[in-house]
């Protein structure tokens, strides 16, 4: 692919974001394409090859007015080639990055306290990626360093929660034909109707755990040892309509776009930034708020999910852990958690 065609698309995204509003004063567009060839051979006679092609466009817009500056970000990606970038709805992605920045510019400071929190679909799934997904990786489970260790068959979530890791979804950012030990990827059901069903297991930890590998062994490159990691992880769709979830919330926080987060896999304590948040009041979205951080414990938060929407979508992210930085999808429909501690600048 010619450099010029890539640069043209980047300029288009830049122009869309810049022209969104006069307060957009800086736009950063990053383009990535990557072709990774792997050959895996082992002493058990395995000999497999694969080629993985990843493409991503990441748009960051900054809005400023007076002393205030805020940013918005959107970074769609796929396990696909340039056709993915060429067919992207730039108006949507670049427009959203700009809209978030402008919306947050004059948002109130977020109040702190314990509130019901509605987390929107798509990249919102990052919260369960951190809060539960990492705790279900054999890296943590095999050494008993996870709150989910030795609990197969136990109820760890309400019945409305089914949590899946599926590396086979066509062209999704976190998908793979084979994992980095040459195992075929598969659809692994981790939690089904609230019951813990399985873990993500690599070959080495499979021996330690006396279990079968699950096609979940990944590494960034030859520089890393492979270990159990997520691919496309998501909460399966439920029956609630998104508008009904909001309408049934008297007072709470609506997290429309999540930022990044972190978890301590041993304790399950997590923290998350919310990129675009709103106060929900009397069943309606009231006003935007900024500086919201969610903290809590993954296992406890999972128990408090009280609504699961019907609008499943996936979002692309990078996940950093001991075997390097990997493309993963996080996904979910809109969900509601009855109580999360929200840290904000405004106080109670």
């Amino acid at each position: 692919m010619e450099h010029a065609r890539k640069a043209t698309i980047m300029r288009q995204a830049n122009d869309i974001a810049r022209n969104y509003d006069e307060r957009i004063n800086q736009v950063k567009v990053r383009y990535l394409d990557e072709e990774q060839h792997v050959l895996i051979a082992n002493s058990e006679g395995k000999f497999v090859e694969d080629t993985r092609i990843h493409s991503r466009l990441a748009i960051q817009a900054t809005a400023s007015e007076g002393k205030e500056m805020q940013t918005g970000f959107y970074g769609p990606g796929a396990h696909a080639g340039f056709e993915f970038i060429e067919n992207l709805n730039l108006e949507h992605y670049a427009g959203e990055a700009a809209r978030i920045a402008v919306t947050m510019l004059h948002a109130d400071e977020c109040p702190s306290g314990k509130f019901p929190v509605i987390i929107d679909n798509e990249f919102g799934g990052v919260i369960f990626h951190e809060a539960c997904g990492h705790g279900l990786e054999a890296t943590a489970v095999a050494k008993n360093n996870s709150v989910f260790a030795n609990r197969i068959g136990e109820k760890v979530a309400p019945e409305i929660v089914t949590y899946i890791d599926d590396g086979t979804l066509p062209n999704e950012w976190g998908s793979l034909n084979i994992d980095d030990e040459g195992e075929k990827t598969r659809k692994n059901i981790l939690i089904e109707n609230g019951i813990l069903k399985g873990y993500l297991i690599d070959k080495f930890n499979a021996r330690r755990m006396n279990a079968e590998p699950t096609g979940s062994s990944r590494r960034q490159s030859y520089r890393f040892n492979p270990t159990s990691r997520m691919t496309n992880t998501y909460i399966a769709p439920g029956s609630s309509k998104p508008e009904e979830i909001i309408a049934s919330t008297e007072y709470g926080i609506y997290a429309k776009y999540m930022g990044g987060g972190q978890v301590n896999p041993s304790t399950g304590d997590y923290n998350f930034a919310v990129m675009e948040a709103y106060i929900v009041k009397d069943g309606k979205i009231d006003r935007p708020v900024r500086g919201a951080t969610l903290i809590g414990n993954g296992a406890r938060t999972l128990q408090l999910v009280d609504r699961v929407g019907n609008n499943l979508a996936h979002g692309a992210g990078m996940c950093g852990s001991i075997s390097g930085s990997l493309p993963v999808n996080v996904g979910q429909p809109m969900i509601r958690v009855s109580e999360i501690t929200v840290g904000g600048t405004k106080g109670e």
Binding site: E68, R223, S266, G347
Partner: protein, 447 residues
């Protein structure tokens, strides 16, 4: 072919291929790392990793390309790719290749003795530390990280203006995370030690510090959310500083991405706050005598008694501003283009100890660890809201650990609200350092 010959030959070819000026940057890193789990080696890895980057002025634009394969074929690949890269660039504010500074400070970043000590001896030390931690207290469950890394890095920069510089450094890092349990309460505490002097490592001291760091977190209590005076421990402060470093970058200021734009010479922090750039600080493991463009680095105050002295410049931003570069061009690796970063940046220590600062607080919070820094901070607006771990201070004493918290504020306000800096100084391996700070107040939310 040795690297010096290779660099010369490549420069020669690049000039013949139409580059007006060219620079070759080479880096090689050797590393050994190992993790223990309950006395067993859980992972063991040695690696040699390196590459070379060509940067050159072609048709008035600076193109670049890198490779990890140093052979004759790579030369034409680098030259062709750097040309193609130059062609696609829009920017015309061209910067030439640097001819060299008058003088470079000589400083030893490499301790040969560290490499002569065998790997078994290093693993044995780690094993001993793990054993001592596990035996330290019955509430210690295990270590979820018991990690040792040793590295040595070589870098060299040569260009068509006859500049030829080289740098060699090494170091050893031990990282321990201890899991403790009392009843249903499960906590972790992490501890990091770095050095170039293996014989300075004392297993008993390290084990005690690592174990105490985790045990102190047991017995957590909730306190009301609200605004509290804060003591931010040196290591937590250094991590916050490293995240907000981009506000000091002249490149960000020029792109309207830093609120410090146009503030040089003005008061941006409280009088007690001094921020120093120290490429040759004995307690830091990083630093170098030249920057990513080959400019000599130097000791300098970035903020002195609250007044902003300079932003961090490379030659491009300095040219734009009409000033001298401050020697802060940064190359993350041979793969990266030039950015801006300090060479050991630290908050200058004060007179009284952290203990004395705690004693001066009637009610407040001591913060010992911050997490979620990459997501809960906005370097443009300065807003931050991040997860924190720490202790409740009552009547000048530590009363109890506090449940998971968030602290929130604005970094620019925070700089103005620093009331005192302690006498301790702690450096992170990435070269950011700090003393502990007494801050007037921050918003604390408790789980």
């Amino acid at each position: 072919m040795n690297i010096v010959e290779y660099q010369e030959k490549l420069l020669d070819k690049a000039i013949k291929a139409g580059f007006k000026e060219a620079e070759v940057y080479f880096e090689r890193k050797n590393s050994f790392q190992c993790m223990l789990y309950e006395g067993q080696i859980d992972s063991y890895e040695t690696s040699e990793d390196g590459g070379l980057c060509l940067r050159g002025l072609y048709n008035g634009k600076l193109g670049y390309a890198y490779t990890e394969k140093l052979d004759d074929d790579s030369m034409s690949f680098l030259i062709d790719s750097a040309k193609a890269n130059a062609d696609v660039l829009d920017e015309d504010e061209c910067i030439d290749i640097f001819e060299g500074s008058n003088e470079y400070t000589s400083y030893e970043f490499y301790n040969e003795e560290l490499e002569t000590i065998g790997i078994p001896e290093k693993i044995e030390l780690l094993r001993l530390i793990e054993q001592k931690i596990r035996a330290y207290d019955s509430r210690i469950v295990t270590l979820d990280y018991c990690f040792l890394q040793e590295y040595s890095t070589e870098r060299s920069l040569a260009n068509s203006k006859n500049l030829s510089l080289s740098h060699k450094e090494n170091g050893l890092v031990i990282f321990l995370s201890t899991v403790v349990r009392e009843g249903e309460e499960l906590k972790t505490g992490s501890y990091l030690k770095m050095t170039r002097d293996f014989h300075s490592l004392n297993a008993d001291e390290i084990a005690k510090a690592a174990a105490e760091e985790a045990l102190a977190n047991l017995g957590e209590k909730s306190i009301p959310s609200g605004k509290y005076p804060i003591i931010l421990r040196s290591d937590a402060t250094a991590s916050l500083l490293s995240i907000f470093m981009p506000i000091l970058s002249a490149e960000n200021a020029q792109k309207d991405q830093s609120l410090l734009k146009g503030k040089v010479g003005q008061k941006v922090a409280s009088d007690t706050f001094t921020l120093l750039n120290a490429p040759f600080h004995p307690e830091a493991l990083s630093g170098a005598s030249f920057d990513g463009e080959g400019v000599a680095t130097k000791e300098q105050a970035i903020i002195l008694d609250g007044i902003l002295q300079t932003l961090l410049h490379n030659r491009k931003t300095a040219k734009k501003e009409g000033c001298e570069t401050s020697g802060h061009a940064h190359k993350d690796s041979y793969k990266g283009t030039l950015s801006i970063a300090p060479q050991n940046l630290y908050i200058s220590p004060g007179k009284r100890s952290q203990e004395a600062l705690i004693a001066s607080v009637s009610e407040g919070v001591l913060i010992t660890k911050l997490s979620g820094l990459h997501s809960g901070t906005n370097t443009i607006s300065g807003d931050f809201s991040v997860a924190a771990q720490g202790f409740h201070i009552q009547d000048g004493k530590i009363a109890s650990p506090v449940k998971q918290m968030t602290i929130a504020g604005n970094f620019f306000d925070f700089l103005n609200n620093i009331e005192e800096t302690s006498s301790e100084l702690y450096f992170l391996p990435n070269g950011y350092g700090s003393s502990s700070l007494l801050v007037k107040e921050l918003s604390v939310t408790v789980e």
